[in-house]
Symmetry: C2
Subunit: 684 residues, 2 copies
């Protein structure tokens, strides 16, 4: 008890640091960044009394020994901000440091006294002492300068004269003194982590394709070579990640038939997610798709076009998977000794055995699964779409992804989890680089704005990277079933401009496949999950050209490659959704640019696929850095039409049968160009 | 690197616990509670896949060895809640535990299979196995029951018959199984802390009084005995904390005169905050106030009335304080060797020497200051108002308050910090039981609602207890200077009903002293800080009776003794502010009571001191647990008038020259009572 009275040295540290951002669950998980990103660090830093504090952020890549220090600047209410660019994949660490700015405090107080006409002679001696202490921390020329300046202050007559005032309040001394502060009692935040991913983790355009349906001959099973032949088409579409559902041998036991029928008929191919057959398991290629060499060839050919091939990690087995016999202990057995198939009672998946992640042999199983990932990495795969990660332990993913990224920090994992929000967020914290979202079912303006706010403007944005999919092989929404071509275009524009990463399941998407298995079902009729399909890419009405155009817009406009600047604007018509994204152009690290130094895109979408919608929209020009009383030019990147607006309120009409959206690039008006009048009314 | 591949046992724990509340800065600081409070703990808890989880909170007073476990209940979106009552002052700890509810999961799946008509015979064997495992964890009768039930399940014929179904889905088995879960792989949150204060830390009514101005004889210096003679008056006012500005000897060097004049005239008493004279320092009593015995007598007399005497901790010295000579090393010296007086340039406080908390002898100084607190605790003082805590290191307060409360957990510290918000909040985190606030300057409805939301409906409420003061000896707001008696009544009602703790500086408050030192100043003319004043408590127009009435209302209505149920309601007139507080009556721990099982108070205040204001107000009846289509009764506790309303919209008119507010107690209507009509219009 007596001992507890004695304060520790830590009690004596006066500055306080709080609320450092980015910070995920108090530092339990790393925040996310991508190569080239400017990471903005903020913290509250303050001290008792009237002293000024100074603040810096230090950061380093884990492979570097030296910390790089950056001055933070106050942004009001005791909050400080600093920013640095990250240029290498892997873990990055940062800390915030705060100390008392004794020279700055002294100078501020001296000025206040002089302004009030008070005697400041004692202050000069105090200042001299401060500079002498700084000199002791300095070296070389700086040391000599500080010593000389300290001498000047100490020798000054009472009432500092002109030259001395110039010295004290000049930039040179301030800069020198700032360089050698007294950090003896500096406060430091705990070390926080960032995981720096490749740029593609932040900005990517996905396309899901079943190779077995890629044959140009409707009567032939498609191959990896057929998928490779699609690459020029995908390039036209502007795709950069080609995701293939599982390419492994498919079990024959309890194989599902067309439309998920419990028993497959002769020749039916089964579900690619029923992985494993005598030919092999998770590291084998389905014989009808080709060979491992064919995959290598596809991966290499895609790479020359800047396309990554993403494989599916579906950690489950068909009853015919080699592991069933080699490692029965990796599966859960029923009381009768048989292995239980996958169930979510009363639903049954008889063609699939789940792995038992809780088996006593869990370390062996987990290691084998890590081995699967490493096998494909050795074949040039760096992007993985993970099937149903929420049905495997969260601790497993945290371990697996960390283990992979330690040696291969360039790897990207997309979580295909459609489950409860907190589970989805935890998967992202545990390491997934991107995540499927509820976007697919968010359809009204209110739903979209609320959800996007949560994803982009709360702490969720620090660790969860949304990847928006209008459709997947599992999800043909009721909206897509009934809205005609317009709804496909609407959902495409929303996905591609609301989220920096999005994907489509094609060719079903661009060919607007919209027939459900039965009314009320979100399953596709004759789903590719259970059957081969033949797609006529040349079909009239294909949205391929629109997809290509939108993806070219995404590539040319940095604004659309990030989510953090997303802002919604007003519209009197609930069917018209208006939002903007903007990004500083050039190499500036500080994020303080505004107006025409930024790439700014404004999107107006008619959410109603059936009717033209019109109304007045209200742009928050202040947020866009645009003067309210000066006209500005808009270039519609979808239609190439040009407009000239002035002020926040403008009239818009959009006919979904023609083009359901504007994607405007905002520019300062050029006087010599023949711009359109203020309203777009009648322009369609 | 190879080693890093091997997952730790911790990876295998499947349940996840996140976002435990209350939790201050990730557990760095304790949250606050008061004796008798029901502490509600919430956490996110979930697991991968479809398994159910079970969740409990464990808690104990630090002096207890045994944890008390309480089942938490799910409240939606994977969030769980549990509540317990704390009954002893001191530190309390709690943790959250979550595990997989294997029996509940099994039962749910079995039911789904049976409902779908599937064969469930294997499930019975699985269930039998689960119960056998539970039996191994049980003892005595429970063990025998579980074993017997396991046997029954194992022996059952396929297709469970009636009695077996009743057994499986009955409450008895569920309760038994729940009692002995498999916690081998339970997740546990970190241990979090609560500091449990006396009830008065949460609910208190303060009165600041200068004893030297308490003499009934205008020509005589007041004494502690005079202050004691005021106790009956304070009892009438309903006060429970009597706060005395420093009662110590006052320095004569650089003593301030009337209205803060730089030089005191002969006989002027000086500022009580210029502490210390040859007669003594922080542990001495000013000779003109009386003796230490007089203080003891006052404290004892106050205690018999349930009033705590609060002393002022102003850790600074006059130039005549004994420490200046005994411990010159505790002060900061100028280059010329003299001690610097307090300054906030260009402001100077020549009668005060600040203590140098950064002195090399800091441990001695801090220990001496702790000794001051312990000295007064030995004299029966348990409530301290701390002067300008924000000008002393935050680490000092954290250490001092923790040191005091270790031996004296009943102690209450009120932080008199009017400074930047984050510094005020950090002081509260560091240990202050209550805090002065910006209430004094929050005057419009929007300002008040926004500020109250921050204080009562964000994480701030976990650690910061507001104490609302309409006036202090330092602050006579412009509003109080000009609004007449009405504004004093308005600010009184607001302080007393918005905050569970509030205080007034009297008799200046109830006598509506409103003359500033000069126009534009918030200082009182002839402030008691520098001069003796004489107050005529019998003066016509004193608000003493109103203060007493409002404090009696506060004592009779638990709703007003807490802040967490504060809710604002609508009003078309911005000058009419409407809010409610409610509290379950009776001993229930669960906070789920509603409607007439709760003590509900609705307050309507006319914020305009000059004009009657009227308008329709909109009560959120759903939030109040009142059916919208049934009439309800309102008893105005200020005027004793009774009304009968129906539905959310009602008309109110309030004349500030008569009574500027309604304080309604809501009751179910009694048919036999002659209630007023729906509108209060014309009732004044």
């Amino acid at each position: 008890m007596a001992g507890a009275r004695i304060p520790t040295a830590q009690s004596r540290v006066r500055p306080v640091i709080e609320a450092v951002r980015p910070q995920v669950d108090g530092g339990r998980f790393p925040a996310k960044a991508a190569v080239g990103d400017v990471v903005t660090v903020e913290a509250d830093a303050f001290v008792d009394g009237h002293d000024l504090v100074a603040c810096e952020v230090r950061h380093r890549h884990v492979t570097e020994h030296r910390w790089v220090s950056l001055t933070m600047v106050p942004i009001g209410n005791d909050r400080w901000r600093g920013a640095f660019r990250v240029s290498d994949v892997g873990r990055h660490r940062f800390t915030v440091h705060a100390w008392i700015d004794r020279f700055g405090t002294w100078r501020r107080d001296l000025k206040a006294r002089m302004d009030a006409g008070q005697d400041a002679s004692a202050d000069l001696l105090v200042g001299a002492d401060l500079l002498r202490r700084s000199a002791r921390r300095a070296r070389g020329e700086d040391r000599r300068s500080l010593t000389a300046m300290a001498h000047q202050l100490a020798q000054a007559e009472p009432g500092p004269a002109g030259p001395l005032v110039a010295l004290i309040f000049g930039d040179e001394l301030a800069e020198l003194a700032r360089r050698y502060p007294d950090r003896a009692a500096a406060a430091t935040s705990g070390e926080l982590s960032l995981v720096v991913d490749p740029e593609r983790a932040r900005f990517s355009t996905w396309y899901e394709l079943f190779p077995r349906s890629a044959s140009p001959d409707p009567d032939r099973h498609g191959t990896l070579a057929d998928a490779e032949a699609r690459l020029p088409y995908l390039t036209q579409l502007g795709i950069d990640v080609l995701y293939l559902p599982p390419i492994h041998p498919i079990g024959s036991t309890s194989r599902k038939g067309d439309d998920g029928a419990p028993v497959a008929g002769p020749g039916e191919p089964g579900s690619p997610w029923a992985i494993g057959a005598p030919e092999g398991g998770h590291t084998a290629v389905h014989p009808q798709l080709g060979s491992l060499d064919d995959l290598d060839h596809l991966v290499a050919a895609a790479a020359t076009r800047g396309i990554d091939v993403a494989l599916d990690l579906a950690f489950q087995c068909s009853p015919d998977h080699p592991w069933v016999h080699e490692h029965p202990e990796w599966f859960r057995h029923r009381p009768d000794g048989s292995i239980g198939y996958a169930e979510n009672p009363p639903k049954r998946y008889e063609d699939i055995y789940p792995l038992d992640f809780e088996t006593e042999a869990w370390r062996d199983l987990w290691d084998a699964l890590l081995g699967v990932v490493e096998f494909w990495i050795a074949h040039g795969i760096t992007v993985f779409r993970v099937d149903n990660p929420h049905t495997k332990p969260l601790g497993f993913w945290e371990w697996l992804i960390a283990s992979v990224k330690r040696a291969h920090p360039e790897t990207i994992f997309l979580a295909e989890a459609f489950t409860r929000p907190k589970v989805m967020y935890r998967l992202a914290k545990a390491g997934f680089s991107q995540s499927y979202t509820y976007f697919t079912w968010r359809q009204t303006r209110w739903e979209l704005e609320t959800y996007l706010h949560e994803l982009t403007a709360t702490e969720v944005a620090d660790y969860f990277r949304p990847n928006f999919w209008p459709n997947t092989p599992d999800i043909l929404t009721e909206q897509l079933q009934s809205g005609g071509a317009s709804i496909f275009a609407i959902r495409l524009v929303l996905a591609a401009t609301l989220a920096a990463s999005y994907g489509i399941y094609g060719p079903a998407f661009e060919l607007q496949d919209h027939l459900p298995r039965h009314p009320g079902s979100e399953e596709y009729l004759h789903s590719e999950k259970y059957a081969l399909r033949h797609w006529d890419l040349e079909r009239r009405g294909s949205l391929a050209a629109v997809v290509g155009r939108i993806n070219r817009i995404r590539r040319s406009h940095p604004a659309l490659q990030f989510n953090d600047s997303l802002r919604f604007h007003g519209s009197e018509n609930e069917q018209l959704m208006v939002y903007s994204k903007s990004r500083p152009t050039g190499e500036t690290v500080a994020d303080g640019t505004s107006g025409w130094d930024r790439d700014t895109v404004v999107v107006v979408v008619n959410l109603d696929p059936y009717h033209p919608q019109s109304g007045w929209i209200d742009l928050d020009l202040g947020a866009l850095g645009i003067e309210a009383d000066r006209p500005f030019a808009l270039h519609d990147l979808l239609t190439d039409e040009r407009y000239r607006w002035e002020g926040p309120r403008n009239f818009v009409i959009l006919d979904p049968q023609v083009v359901p959206a504007h994607i405007f690039h905002l520019r300062p008006p050029t006087p010599d160009r023949l711009d359109r009048p203020v309203s777009t009314k009648g322009s369609r």
